[in-house]
Assembly symmetry: C2
Homo-oligomer: 82 residues x 2
Amino acid sequence: MRATVLVRPKQGILDPQGQAVESSLRQLGFSVGDARVGRVVDLEVDSTDALTARAEVERMCEQLLANPLIESYEIELAEDEG
Amino acid sequence: MRATVLVRPKQGILDPQGQAVESSLRQLGFSVGDARVGRVVDLEVDSTDALTARAEVERMCEQLLANPLIESYEIELAEDEG
């Protein structure tokens, strides 16, 4: 099963990368606000059962993919194509 | 309007960060494969019309958010809450 994990800085946590992106976009003439930059991790997990897969990916987030103190994560699961 | 942009390394492009994540997850005992790491950028755009907003965010991707040579991007739009 294919998992997509979105890791974002939590609300209230300073995000210098987001600030840099926002200021660069403005300098290019775009009218944008409140830019935040996070990571997206795509991976293939063995579990074919969605509940098991989600629980496993949650453990990966807590242990490695995200820093739960300052980042929140969102997990999306998709059946493999073909 | 709220835009979410997912920027990922294109297929066939080496992704050392993804390889590092995959090998670390395996060392932690997870059975995973084909990990890829990209960026997620959330931002607020002025346009209230979805077509205009999408076209504008596409220009941002081409000019700043992604490197079209080695990265692909995906744009999701959502009405503001409240």
